[in-house]
């Protein structure tokens, strides 16, 4: 990777900017003020330690993995709860600590020596839980080897001894993060270092097949990602710059999963399968940024990032089935992707109240992985007849974006307009080049005190060069297919937003948004999408003791696509309609001023999706998918004294889903799919919390 020309150019530019800074107009110097008598004698600096600790118990009424996703409250029972905020101020040192902001598993520590070093530590745990009702006959979940008990394999799921072998399995993993950082100033420079470790452990659902049979499998999650960053920043009044180096390494403790085949493959003899899981990889990046205040009304900034992702893990054999291990052209792919990202921005305020913004961006992804011919074994069964050898396709992309925007304000009227061109070049794609030109206009009117209306309209038109055939693909695509990231597209969007204040106590807001994507040249593929959204909110300070907030949003999305089962002119189409409505209400009230505060929050949401696939014979629509979630939280805080308060809260959540993709699909419902039997969400959980808070 030849970085020297760019770095030399950047240094030259920065030097030029520095010269400009020396000879050009300077921002006004600070007045010399005699602060020798400014003793800050009455400044209420905290001394010593202070804070609050809140300890109590949390009771969860029911077991629900769906409810436990992200909350960690997936099991019925009682557990302890701790929340704390601590501060310590010493002689030139400081520490702030926060534990369990929302009684969750988080820790934040900030501290340092004043003017010398600042330190931070963050730790958190994010629990992931993938639904309820999963069952599997496999043993060894969480490991890289899944074993079936005696009695397997069978030609269909009906013949499997599932009645005696199925066991419940909790699919999910815990994601733990530890993030450390330090920064130290040195004159106009600041040195920053950071290190972060993410660990994910547990299982996640995947699936794998043997030609025409498949099984859902619990894949092991044993991921560790380490990231480091070192950066030097420079800042003066007019010039700021930063140079950084980042390194990231991903480690997978389980690079492959082997499982017993629950289906009898007869003469093929494929009693096991092996699937590759995410390989270890590394990423390094050097990045820099600079900004310069050329004049009081001109500012320029630029940034760049040069990155390299690599991966060269030992490859698995072509198959785990004896007799299908074919020679490979290389032991590893020696994969390498070079990236370049650069941005240039210039803003200037010109006479007449107009402000101009011009920017240019270049993003490149260059996959340097060698192209080789790889023998293909079809799902550990046989050498692929249609494509016994395939060459890999390292994808490259280059993107140039040019933007010019203008803002103008006069009194209560503000106008804005912009033009953008987005050019992309890709390899191994049906269309090598796409170009999209977009324009927008926006008007904001301040209508009196506390009221404003904003209107925005935008239009984008994308085209491509010749749309051909991706010959690298194993099987030729329908020549009438247009992939939606390449296809001609017209995008229209508009929005109206109003904000109003009624006196000092009431704030209202309303938004209407609509957008449409049309693919005029697409006969097969995505043909169009239409979106509409309505929203409103109100914040009402009823009196000094009571505050009410409410908001609502309704969104609808309709999409159309066409297909062809004869790989020619379209002979079927699909229309999807999604609707999402959500209402939120919150109230806070000082029931007994300075003694008892109460509050409640409720969020009610309804999602509805319907799909109709029409093959011309009057096919009915699929059943409607629904997701209803009702969340109510009430809480109270009673102040016993200046130091002690009693807190209680109740969280009620009801979740009910209808999803035809899951409903009634048990492990043996399909003859050729051994499924987990995950069912749509259906839970009602109450979480009761009681705690004592002590402030010191």
């Amino acid at each position: 990777m030849n970085t020297h020309p760019f770095l030399h150019s950047s240094v030259a530019l920065l030097a030029a900017l520095g010269v400009l800074g020396a000879v050009g107009p300077a921002t006004p110097a600070r007045a010399q003020v005699d602060t020798s008598q400014w003793k800050c004698a009455t400044c209420p600096y905290p001394k010593g330690s202070s804070g609050a600790v809140e300890a109590g118990a949390v009771s969860v009424s029911d077991t629900s993995r769906r409810f436990g996703d992200y909350t960690g409250l997936d099991r019925e029972g009682v557990r302890g709860a701790l929340q704390a905020e601590l501060s310590h101020r010493g002689d030139g040192t400081w520490v702030d600590l926060r534990v369990g902001e929302n009684f969750d598993r988080t820790l934040e520590v900030r501290g340092g020596v004043e003017g010398v070093v600042g330190l931070r530590l963050d730790a958190m745990e994010i629990p992931r839980r993938f639904g309820d009702g999963a069952r599997t006959p496999f043993t060894g979940a969480g490991s890289d080897r899944l074993v079936l008990p005696a009695g397997f394999a069978a030609t269909t799921t009906a013949g499997m001894p599932l009645a005696t072998t199925l066991q419940g399995i909790g699919l999910g993993y815990d994601h733990r993060r530890l993030d450390l950082g330090a920064s130290a100033p040195a004159g106009p420079f600041t040195v920053t270092i950071g290190a972060r470790r993410d660990v994910r452990e547990g299982t996640r659902p995947i699936a794998a097949s043997f030609f025409n049979t498949a099984a859902q499998l619990p894949a092991p999650v044993d991921h560790t990602t380490d990231q480091f960053e070192v950066a030097v920043g420079y800042a003066t009044r007019d010039l700021q710059a930063r140079l950084a180096w980042q390194y990231s390494r991903f480690d997978n403790g389980s690079p492959a999963l082997v499982w017993d085949n629950p289906f009898d493959t007869g003469a093929f003899g494929a009693t096991r399968g092996r699937i590759a899981l995410a390989p270890d990889n590394e990423f390094q990046q050097v990045s820099g940024a600079a900004g310069y205040q050329v004049a009081p009304a001109i500012r320029a900034s630029a940034d760049f990032a040069l990155g390299r992702a690599t991966q060269n893990e030992p490859l698995l054999p072509t198959s785990v089935t004896a007799g299908l291990v074919l020679p490979l052209p290389a032991a590893g792919i020696d994969g390498r992707v070079d990236t370049f990202n650069g941005n240039l921005r210039l803003t200037a305020a010109v006479p007449g109240g107009v402000r101009l913004v011009a920017s240019y961006s270049r993003d490149e992804r260059n996959n340097r992985t060698t192209v080789l011919a790889w023998p293909q074994v079809a799902t550990d069964l046989f050498v692929s007849a249609s494509a016994p050898v395939r060459s890999n396709t390292p994808f490259d992309e280059m993107r140039d974006r040019f933007r010019l925007q203008a803002d103008w304000r006069r009194g209560t009227l503000r106008l804005a307009a912009g033009l953008e061109q987005d050019n992309r070049t890709r390899n191994y794609h049906e269309a090598v080049r796409t170009r999209e030109t977009s324009a927008y206009a926006r008007a904001t009117v301040a209508a009196g005190e506390g009221a404003s209306l904003a209107f925005k309209l935008s239009y984008g038109d994308r085209d491509h060069d010749a749309y051909g055939v991706a010959t690298w693909f194993g099987t030729t695509e329908n020549t009438l297919l247009r992939k939606y990231e390449l296809a001609q597209r017209r995008r229209t969007e508009g929005s109206v937003r109003g904000d109003f204040a009624i006196g000092d106590n009431v704030a209202l807001g309303a938004t209407v948004e609509a957008g449409e994507d049309e693919y005029p040249a697409t006969l097969v593929g995505l043909r169009g999408t239409r979106r509409t959204s309505l929203g409103g909110d109100v914040a009402w300070t009823i009196d000094e003791r009571t505050r009410l907030t409410a908001w609502a949003q309704s969104e609808a999305v309709v999409s159309r696509q066409a297909g062809s089962q004869v790989v020619a002119a379209p002979d079927w189409n699909a229309r999807g309609r999604d609707r999402f409505d959500v209402v939120g209400i919150g109230v806070r009230h000082a029931l007994i001023p300075d003694r008892l505060d109460v509050g409640a929050d409720a969020v009610i949401s309804r999602a509805r999706s319907q799909l109709r696939v029409d093959t011309g014979i009057g096919d009915p629509a699929f059943p409607v998918d629904r997701m209803a979630t009702d969340t109510i939280k009430v809480y109270a805080s009673y102040k016993l004294s200046d130091s002690v308060s009693l807190n209680a809260g109740l969280w009620s959540e009801r979740g009910l889903a209808r999803d035809w993709r899951l409903a009634g699909v048990g492990p043996a419902t399909l003859p050729n799919l051994l499924a987990f039997g995950l069912q749509p969400a259906d839970y009602r959980v109450y979480v009761l919390r009681a705690s004592v808070r002590y402030r010191f």
Binding site: D104, A235, A276, P317, T339, A349, R365, G535
Partner: protein, 321 residues
């Protein structure tokens, strides 16, 4: 790797434009506050605290002294040696101390006299670097969002933007459609306070659409989802290009943040002969007349093609292994 010539040319043109435009723009500058000797208070913060030591549970004059702005040992801070204390941000305060009028000093309320640009200029006197280098060209600046619209240094419980769990509430008070998105069937754990808007976005301005924290969307996603980063032997083209081709990061009514469910999601790009181009109707549901339920229920296409993010298996060209 060659550095793009187009980029270098643009760099040179930018430098030329800076020199040529400097003189023109001087006339249209936002005038910086011009302190004059004698307009500062007699005793600095001690003058201000005669009136502003209150604490009403939201605004707190004393809360500042628990924050970094008040560090006495840090020369960069307003309360460091030689600093102008309260008047570093609020401007000369002698007149305000005499007449007690809000109009006699720089205030940071959105309803105050100072424009967003004027308020921001004060903050940028010290905070122009770091993640704010591109603030001048960012969407927030262009929409006249002031630093103090989000950051509240005088708040009793500290600046909410610095705490992950409370930052999101501030962002979502304006970004209301995203507030609704995080309530959908699948989403990032933003409403649970475990992921902050700033984990993905640089609200201070960035060159990417959506003002992302990293140079591209994929790099932003891969900073947490490094298992998808690759490179791998068999790449899936939309994965290499843009995660948002298949996922809606803020929230989706579908599982896994998908913009559509399979098979329709996959059939929007795959229409070869055989099963990829076959329409799936309710007749393909379990017990239906057409059979083929494996293409429709449970994971649909991913019942077999589970390696949608790419595969490093030698026989994984069809993302089956």
């Amino acid at each position: 790797m060659k550095i793009p010539r187009a980029f270098l040319r643009a760099l040179c043109l930018t430098a030329f434009a800076l020199v040529a435009g400097g003189a023109l723009a001087q006339q249209a500058a936002v005038p910086a506050p011009q302190p004059k000797p004698g307009q500062y208070s007699e005793k600095g913060a001690d003058t201000c605290l005669e009136c502003h030591a209150d604490d009403d549970g939201v605004y707190s004059g004393s809360a500042l002294f628990r924050s970094k702005h008040a560090l006495r040992g840090d020369r960069r801070a307003p309360f460091g040696a030689g600093g102008l204390q309260c008047e570093a941000c609020h401007g000369p305060g002698a007149l305000h101390a005499r007449n007690k009028r809000a109009s006699a000093i720089i205030g940071f309320k959105s309803t105050g006299k100072a424009t967003a640009a004027e308020r921001n200029q004060i903050c940028m006197t010290c905070h122009a670097g770091g993640t704010r280098t591109a603030w001048h060209a960012g969407t927030h600046e262009r929409n006249e969002v002031a630093c103090s619209d989000c950051h509240q240094v005088h708040r009793s419980h500290g600046d909410p933007m610095l705490a992950k769990a409370r930052q999101n509430e501030s962002c979502l008070s304006c970004h209301k459609s995203q507030r609704a998105d995080f309530q959908k069937t699948s989403s990032h754990p933003v409403r649970q306070g475990l992921v902050a808007c700033s984990d993905c976005h640089n609200a201070h301005g960035a060159g990417t659409p959506g003002m992302l924290a990293r140079p591209t969307l994929n790099q932003t996603c891969n900073s947490c989802h490094a298992d998808k980063r690759g490179p791998v032997l068999w790449e899936h083209a939309p994965v290499a290009e843009d995660c948002a081709l298949c996922h809606q990061p803020h929230g989706s009514v579908r599982s896994a943040l998908l913009v559509k469910s399979p098979p329709q999601l996959c059939q929007a790009c795959h229409s070869t002969s055989g099963h990829p181009s076959v329409p799936r109707t309710p007749a393909n549901l379990p017990g239906g007349a057409a059979g083929g339920a494996v293409f429709t229920v449970a994971g649909s296409c991913s019942n077999c093609h589970t390696q949608v993010h790419g595969s490093n298996h030698p026989s994984g060209a069809k993302l089956l292994r």
